[in-house]
Symmetry: C2
Subunit: 216 residues, 2 copies
């Protein structure tokens, strides 16, 4: 029974890693769509998002099956409950990236980003993609140094998010309301995407150490 349980836990873990890698791929495609007004990339991101939702639902069903058949307690139970939450975060990360792709699609063939904000969004998307990769690594290796790096990188995203508003609210911002709306929402989606990685990393740290990090 214990061996079966360990195999099932391993399966849950490997599916979480897949979900994280998929969220990364969706963000890569969504970022390219958004930065380069690439509508084909936007469509690919949107299609992968649907597949990722299915994958998250399947994982939840697996967790419920393991809960029902193994009746885990203590740390094993907490791992499975955390898996449900991490699955929800990873699904949400895919959705947030797909919203970015949808903005690009909506504005095509125009761009959703004015030139003044391009470097900020390039940096924000680069860090989000990196964070999704770190989430996949962390879920695979539970290396707590990664959890600390994730925390620091999230702070960089928060700073870029504030930077977007600094630019938009400065007296010399002269772009039209459409740009203002697009960059406001996109920046929010990039920021929330990073938040979910922090949530995941806090859960992994908690399972390893029994203590919530400050970022908890």
């Amino acid at each position: 029974m214990r061996i079966v349980f360990q195999q099932e836990l391993g399966e849950v873990q490997s599916r979480l890693v897949t979900l994280a890698n998929e969220a990364k791929t969706i963000m890569e495609k969504a970022s390219k769509a958004f930065l380069d007004s690439d509508v084909a990339m936007a469509d690919e991101a949107l299609a992968l998002t649907d597949a990722n939702e299915e994958r998250a639902l399947d994982l939840d069903e697996l967790v419920i099956k393991v809960l029902a058949t193994q009746s885990p307690v203590a740390r094993d139970l907490r791992i499975l409950v955390s898996a449900l939450r991490m699955s929800a975060s990873l699904e949400r990360m895919g959705s947030l990236a797909s919203h970015i792709a949808a903005i690009a699609r909506y504005r095509y063939p125009g761009s959703a980003i004015p030139a003044s904000l391009r470097p900020v969004f390039e940096e924000m998307s680069r860090i989000d993609i990196e964070l999704a990769g770190k989430a996949a690594n962390l879920l695979e290796n539970t290396d707590l140094d990664l959890a600390r790096e994730i925390q620091a990188r999230d702070e960089a995203v928060d700073m870029l998010h504030r930077k977007v508003f600094d630019v938009v609210l400065a007296p010399d911002w002269s772009e039209n309301a459409m740009f203002t709306v697009d960059v406001t929402l996109a920046s929010r989606y990039f920021e929330r995407f990073a938040d979910h990685v922090v949530d995941i990393s806090a859960k992994v740290s908690f399972l390893q150490t029994g203590e919530w990090q400050d970022n908890g």
Copy 2:
């Protein structure tokens, strides 16, 4: 054992109802803060949000305890897993409302809403408050007529959300970027708040009927 379990399930249910009622109260205060530039109300909303987060964490711990001690299967297990998710949604609803309060606080003593959008936001906040009340009722009585009403009211919120963008993106929109940013984000928060009520109602319906509604 069964009687204890039923008592514990009853406790989980009653705490979900409390969380929903608190989310409603936070939205009431946040809406008043936002619509009337009432900074005292904003502070009350922000304080209640912290308390609601604690309450959601406590509920999660109770659910984990029940899972560990009762090893439920089948529908009982699904109820508890759903309770974890509904707790997350209700906590998130509080956070979203608190973001609306934070916008009001940030712009005080000015208003975050231009006159042209006031009626739209009044209506959106009215429906969100109503939806949170319906969520509390649904969690208490599992009345599936309520689930259908919730679906319809969420569509009304989605329409108002689109209406905000119609106004902001119309050629005669002459408000500054600050208003554009504020109403874009606030509208998004109101819309997400309603989405969470739909998620909750889909879960309650699923537990009652074994079938996912289209809104699932």
